[in-house]
Point group: D2
Amino acid sequence: MKSVETRVRVRYAETDQMGVVYYANYLVWMEVGRVELCRACGFNYRDLEEREGILLAVAEANCRYAAPARYDDEVTIKAWVEEPHSKMMTFRYEMNVGDRRIATGFTRHVFLNRELRPARLPQKYLALFQ
Amino acid sequence: MKSVETRVRVRYAETDQMGVVYYANYLVWMEVGRVELCRACGFNYRDLEEREGILLAVAEANCRYAAPARYDDEVTIKAWVEEPHSKMMTFRYEMNVGDRRIATGFTRHVFLNRELRPARLPQKYLALFQ
Amino acid sequence: MKSVETRVRVRYAETDQMGVVYYANYLVWMEVGRVELCRACGFNYRDLEEREGILLAVAEANCRYAAPARYDDEVTIKAWVEEPHSKMMTFRYEMNVGDRRIATGFTRHVFLNRELRPARLPQKYLALFQ
Amino acid sequence: MKSVETRVRVRYAETDQMGVVYYANYLVWMEVGRVELCRACGFNYRDLEEREGILLAVAEANCRYAAPARYDDEVTIKAWVEEPHSKMMTFRYEMNVGDRRIATGFTRHVFLNRELRPARLPQKYLALFQ
C-alpha cells in the first residue's frame, strides 16, 4: 500500500500544563495524515464529501503514546491504508520527531452518505490507495 | 437586559505549557455562556438553527485577559446581550474564578440563513433577551 | 470498582462540518470523566500533581464510536478503573446520550514524576478507587 | 516593521456544524503566525521561554471575521509587530484564502517571567522585529 509522510509543527495550543502535547491532539494529526494520504493518492477528501456525498466516519480510534511531543517539535506523520474495502477502511499511523517514535495508532472508518446512513466507497477511489 | 451565569470546570485539555488556560479557549467559554443565556431566556439555540434556519455567525470577538485561569478552576461566565437587533447582536461576558475577575469580552454577531446569507432574527426571539 | 457518571453538554466548538462531534473530543470527555472519578473517590487530580508531583501520563487511548453525538446533547460519561496498580492504571469509559450508547473506550496510564520519569502512585490513592 | 506570511491548511477538526471554521480557531492561527514571525526575525519563541525564561502572555485578543474559511482551504496568515516595547507588544494579523480576506485581528501581550510576574523582553530581541 502507498504511504505518505506529512509534517506538522506542534502548536502552543496543542500543549498542556504537563509541558507536552495533550493526548487527544494526536487524533487531529492522524486526520491531517489521512487527508494528505488521500491527496497523494490522487483525490481531495473534500471533493469526496462534496461531489460524491460520501463521508468517512470514524468507528474506532487507537493511539499508543511512546514518547512525548513538545512545543515547536516538527512531527512527521506516516499514514497508510491497511485494508481498503468499499464499506470499511483502516488507516494506520506512525508519528516521529526526528528519529524518535512518539506514537503509533490506527483509525477504523465506515463510509456514510449525507444522511449518515451506510454507503460504499466508489471503486475508483478504492484502487487509488494501492 | 437579562444576564445569566454559567459554570465550567477548567479541563486539562484547555491548559497549555504555561500552566494556564490557552487564550483561545475563552472564546469557547463565551459560546457556552451565550448558549446558556439563550436557554435561560426561553429558547434553545439548537432549535433556532434547526427550526428557523437561523445561524448566529460571529462578526467580531474580543477578550481582555485580566488574570490566568488554571486547571480545575471553576469559572463563572456571566453573559448578557448589549444591543439586540434583528440583524446584529452583541453579547458581553465577564469571567470570574471565585471573586477574581479573569477576563471580560464581547462577541458581535450577524444572523445568517442556511446558505450563509444575511437574515433577520424573528421578533419573538428578540423580545426574550430583555 | 467504584464508577462515577459525569455529564457534559456538547459545545458548538466540539462539532465538525459533518454535524456531529469531532472524534478527538471524546478523549477530552474521557479526561473529564476520569478527573470526576478521582474527585468522587476522594482526591483532586490537581492535588496529586501539585502536592505529590505525580503525573498521570497516557500510554494508550482507545475509543469505539457507536452513534454520533450532536450539538447541545447532554452526554453522560461513566468512568471506572479496571486495574489499579501503583505503576500503571487503566480507566474504562461508557458514554451515552439518554439511553443511546454513543461510545466506549479506555485509557491506559503510567505514573510519572515532574521530570517525566516513571513513578509510583502512593498506596493511599490506590485504595481509593476500590 | 517586518511582516511574515505563514500558511495553514484548514483541518476538519477546526470546522463546526455550520460548515465553516469555528471562531476560536482563528486565535490559534494567530499563534502560528506570531511564532513564525519570531522565527523569521531570527529567534525561536521556544528558546525565549527556555533560555530567557520569558513568557509572552496574552493581555487582549481581537478578531474581525470578514468571510468564512472552509475545510481544506489554505489560509495565509500575515503577521507583524505594531509596537515593540520591552514590556508590551502588539501583533497584528491579516488572514486570507487566496485573494479573499477572511479575518483581521490583533493580540496584545505582556512579558512575564516563569513565576508569571511582569518582565522585560531583552533589547536584543526587540531590535529583531524592526
